[in-house]
């Protein structure tokens, strides 16, 4: 994957580079608005990490310029401005995610992974996480490339979970997806989730419950 890093602090740019390159990405760093602008005009990237406070301009300007050209490259904003207003403004301008400095590199890697996967899924029309994948066209579910024969409701549940990637899929949303707008008991969804858990046993995937919030599909990490 080709990643553009626009960050004026040399130390931070270097550590971003060092943390992303080993994951198999090709990272290009620029420190000024002008240079980044030129790079964006010249080449296509899979992800842009954008600092807002650049010495010769506002990163938001770069973002809106990009979006005005109809370029949908995922953009992750990195900034020391932690006011939520700025964050909302950034997301309004078309940023895909936002990290306020200081952040840990582990957090950054997780966000980058999620953004790249989402943008890939947009193009391939296939939702996947680890060994599990869902073909949005045919509605087929695969585990380790073997098709799983699943009842309709479990398929809907998997689709809902995969659509949220590494974020939490809110419970109400999953309930709507699985049961439509029919009135269901509070445990109904939990029943389908535990069935899914059984199917995923030993696959390296698990479904984590977030009390009162929803569920998330996760890779088993040792």
């Amino acid at each position: 994957m080709r990643i553009l890093v626009v960050e004026d602090d040399a130390l931070l740019a270097r550590s971003l580079n060092k943390s992303l390159a080993p994951l198999g990405h090709q990272v290009e760093s620029f420190t000024t608005y002008q240079a980044a602008h030129a790079a964006m005009e010249r080449a296509e990237f899979d992800l842009i990490l954008l600092d807002l406070g650049l010495p010769d301009g506002d990163g938001l300007g770069l973002l809106s310029w990009l979006r005005d050209r109809g370029n949908a490259t995922p953009v992750l904003i990195i900034t020391a401005r932690d006011a939520i207003d700025d964050r909302v403004r950034g997301l309004d301008e078309g940023a895909d995610d936002y990290l306020a400095k200081p952040f840990s590199l582990a957090e950054l890697e997780a966000r980058v992974r999620a953004l790249l996967r989402r943008s890939q899924q947009r193009t391939s029309n296939r939702l996947s996480l680890g060994p599990l994948s869902f073909d949005a066209q045919s509605g087929a579910v695969y585990l380790d490339a073997t098709p799983l024969d699943l009842p309709h409701r479990e398929r809907c549940l998997i689709e809902g979970l995969l659509q949220h990637g590494e974020r939490i899929a809110p419970r109400e949303l999953l309930e709507n997806r699985v049961f439509g707008f029919a009135e269901v008991g509070s445990n109904a969804l939990e029943v389908y989730v535990s069935r899914l858990r059984k199917r995923l046993e030993g696959s390296g995937l698990r479904v984590r419950t977030f009390r009162g919030l929803g569920y998330r599909l996760e890779m088993d990490t040792p």
């Binding site: 932690d82 207003d85 200081p102 840990s104 939490i168 977030f210 009390r211 009162g212 919030l213």
Partner: protein
């Protein structure tokens, strides 16, 4: 925003103009009629004098009046203007005894003059005239028929006099207006001097100078001066608080930075990779804490000292809490905790507030709970609703805080005696500041499972209310 709405000078001048022109019109009318009357009176008495002089020149010879017009009478009649004069002496039957012009006095006027002396306006021979008629009884012991004497002249003399009088009044009036205008300008300048002095004083001030004003002002400006003083006092206080806070903050930042410096310095003298690794681990943790401390200090400073304007809006607290939790629970920091949301109330949970501040508040509460409790702790966020308030509760089943500390936790740099954790001691101070901004009650107490329970009661805002 300062909007200039006309000048005081021009407004005063306008009022003066309106008053002066109203009064002036009345005064001029009065002067006009006054001048006319005065001229009329003066010339009427001249006519009377002329009539009497002619009367003295009448003698009776054999019962017949003989008239000899004295030259004095004519010179009285003819003023120094180009005037035409008229005189006529009539006998008792109304026949002209002598006259200088061919004009017969109407019979009605003769009858009136028989009673008492009369003045009449007339128009004949192509001019306006003023006539005076009186009847003369013969003097002496022989009774004779009375004669009537009529005298008159054209009006140019009267008009000239009236004109002259009027002109004089007008010029006096104009002089008065001019004088009043000049006086008003001078008075206005004098009245605005204290204002200019005040402006000068304020302009001379440097940005840091927030001492009370030292100025002499008239009563009308007292309120303004006092308001300025209050403003200065408030700025002084906030400035002092900011200075204190900055000093505190720099002290708080210096300590961990010194730690970083020493650790790295010692590590550079070491030769073994194990020692380096250990030092780097320590540096990494310290650096993360320090940068977090810096951003929290900034938040707190902003909340406490930039209270200029905050725009509140209606916020559905339950929705905001749910969205914030969806993010927090998914974060790496929450990986080892059970962070959950209790079922939300069905009723609306609207409050007035700033969404960013409320997210920051909840974020800090959650962050605190994650930091100060061991892995595996259950943290539950609740939103409750009663008649007048919406309550936000964050409760954990961790080790809790000794009761003695509970009242002090919201003060900056207070860590409840837990100097061992990597917390900054600012989280609850931030929460406290935000609660103040939202008129919310903050209370800290021991939870049912022994952990800490933080409760925030916000006033409920029925939808549709605005502020």
């Amino acid at each position: 925003m300062i909007e200039v709405t006309g000048s005081l000078k021009s407004r005063l001048a306008l009022w003066l103009l309106v008053t002066v022109s109203g009064l002036g019109a009345l005064l001029l009318l009065e002067a006009y009629f006054g001048a006319r009357n005065a001229a009329q009176r003066a010339f009427d008495s001249q006519l009377e004098a002329a009539g009497l002089t002619i009367a003295e020149g009448i003698q009776w010879q054999g019962g017949q009046p003989v008239v000899k017009i004295p030259a004095a009478a004519l010179s009285i009649l003819a003023t120094h203007h180009q005037e035409r004069v008229f005189y006529a002496v009539l006998d008792a039957r109304g026949e002209t005894i002598t006259a200088d012009l061919d004009f017969s006095v109407p019979a009605a006027w003769q009858d009136a003059a028989a009673q008492r002396p009369v003045w009449r306006d007339a128009r004949f021979l192509g001019a306006d005239w003023r006539l005076h008629g009186r009847e003369l009884e013969s003097a002496g012991w022989q009774t004779q028929d009375p004669v009537q004497i009529w005298v008159g002249h054209t009006l140019s003399g009267r008009r000239a006099l009236a004109h002259e009088l009027f002109e004089r009044s007008v010029s006096r009036f104009l002089a008065m207006v001019l004088l009043a205008g000049v006086l008003m300008l001078l008075a206005m300048r004098a009245a605005l001097t204290p204002m200019r002095r005040l402006r000068h004083l304020l302009r001379q001030r440097t940005a840091e100078d927030m001492r009370p004003l030292d100025a002499r002002v008239p009563e009308e400006l007292r309120e303004l001066a006092e308001t300025l003083d209050t403003l200065f006092a408030r700025q002084r206080d906030s400035h002092d608080a900011l200075l204190r806070f900055t000093a505190d903050a720099s002290h708080q930042l210096k300590t961990p930075l010194a730690g970083l410096q020493h650790t790295s310095e010692l590590a550079l003298e070491e030769r073994s990779p194990e020692a380096w690794h250990e030092a780097l681990t320590m540096i990494h943790r310290r650096a993360a804490d320090t940068s977090r401390l810096a951003s929290q200090l900034l938040s707190l400073a902003r909340l406490r000292h930039l209270t200029g304007h905050h725009e509140t809006q209606c916020v559905e607290l339950a929705t905001l809490v749910r969205d914030t939790l969806l993010e927090s629970a998914a974060s790496l920091a929450a990986r080892d905790h059970d962070l959950g949301l209790a079922p939300l109330p069905e009723a609306p949970t609207t409050i007035r507030g700033e969404p960013w501040a409320l997210r920051e508040l909840l974020g800090n509460l959650i962050d605190n709970a994650l930091r100060y409790t061991p892995a595996g702790t259950t943290i539950t966020v609740r939103v409750k609703r009663d008649a007048e308030s919406v309550e936000l509760v964050v409760e954990d089943d961790g080790p809790g805080v000794p009761t003695a500390w509970l009242g002090r936790l919201h003060q900056p740099f207070e860590r409840g005696g837990r100097q061992d954790t990597e917390g900054s001691g600012l989280g609850l101070a931030i929460v406290h500041s935000i609660a103040l901004r939202h008129a919310a009650e903050l209370s800290l107490e021991a939870g049912d499972q022994g952990g800490l329970r933080v409760r925030l009661r916000f006033p409920f805002a029925a939808t549709g209310t605005t502020s």
